[in-house]
Amino acid sequence: MKRATVSLISAAVSGILFGAGLSVARMTDPQKIWNFLDVAAIPSGGWDPSLAFVMIGGIAVAFFGLRLDRWFRLGRPLAGPAFIKTSRTKVDLPLVAGAAVFGIGWGLSGFCPGPAIADLGLVPQDVYLFVIAMVAGSWVAGQILEWTERPRESTTTSAATSSAR
């Protein structure tokens, strides 16, 4: 089988497993997310720590899984051109500000991107607006980021100075 075909099958299998994992853990239900985030319920015993168990379970496997390339000295993935991961290491303002805004949206809706898209298979009529708005928001933010991160030489001197903090 061609590598390109294998990579698409693998992506689909990974997506199916990811969606199944979310569904088995009931992370597809915003109520579960709210019951986790509602830390004020800890003293009364009404807190639901399920989400933490999902993350621990995921990390327990991924901690090893994401190191297999190094352990087995794989030059490239089994069916992909290269191992691609971010080269960013600095904690910067966009990271913190973006995460803060995401957290507010997550708290208000009970949805992060994975469960929202997974719910298209369960309750599409209830989540499609969220998914469309999410993708649109991401696209617009991506365009703005691309524009702000563009090299400055094309802009006028005064604009470059004033916008360069």
């Binding site: 698409l8 099958i9 992506a11 689909a12 990974s14 997506g15 199916i16 497993l17 990811f18 969606g19 199944a20 994992g21 979310l22 088995v24 853990a25 009931r26 597809t28 239900d29 109520q31 019951n35 985030l37 509602d38 639901d48 399920s50 999902v54 621990i56 379970g57 990390i59 327990a60 496997v61 991924a62 899984g65 993935p77 089994l78 069916a79 992909g80 051109p81 191992f83 971010t86 904690v91 966009p94 990271l95 995460a99 803060a100 995401f102 957290g103 507010i104 997550w106 992060c112 994975g114 997974a118 298979g121 209830d126 969220f130 708005a133 999410m134 993708v135 928001g137 991401s138 696209w139």
Partner: protein, 146 residues
């Protein structure tokens, strides 16, 4: 309402870890869903088709899990998730999640599962930040406003 389900939560997490491992070892890609979805549009030629296959798998897998899990694990309810948000609320919060994950370069999967597994400092900061703002938000909505 107390609905702690440690068994299904851990099992679900392990399956997610397996999904993450497959995408990394076979495709060389990180299973960060906001990144996969955000990079899917506009549609580019080349090897970007994998994004759609992964994203299409999510609802299919969710449905399979919904059908199979309650029979295997009694603690998993056989009911569909109930979503009671208004259209305006869905759109507004969708925009916040889309913008926030793009600017912060990751969500619960990319930073939460993959980044923490890689012991990335950026991801620890991101997860700490969105957990705190989300918890504050839920506190205000549940205990201050209502």
């Amino acid at each position: 309402m107390h609905t702690f389900a440690p068994l299904s939560a851990t099992l679900g997490g392990l399956i997610i870890g397996l999904a993450t491992t497959i995408l990394w070892v076979v495709n060389g890609r990180t299973a960060g869903i906001s990144n996969i979805a955000g990079g899917a549009f506009p549609i580019r030629r080349g090897d970007e088709l994998w994004r759609f296959f992964f994203l299409l798998g999510l609802p299919i897998g969710a449905w399979l899990g919904f059908v199979a899990a309650p029979g295997l694990l009694p603690e998993v309810p056989a009911t569909l998730p109930t979503i009671t948000l208004s259209p305006v609320w869905l759109i507004g919060t969708g925009v916040l999640v889309g913008v926030g994950t793009r600017v912060g370069r990751g969500c619960t999967s990319g930073h939460g599962i993959c980044g923490l597994s890689r012991l990335s400092v950026r991801s620890f900061v991101a997860v700490g930040t969105f957990m705190v703002t989300a918890a504050i938000t839920v506190f205000i909505v549940r205990h201050v406003v209502s």
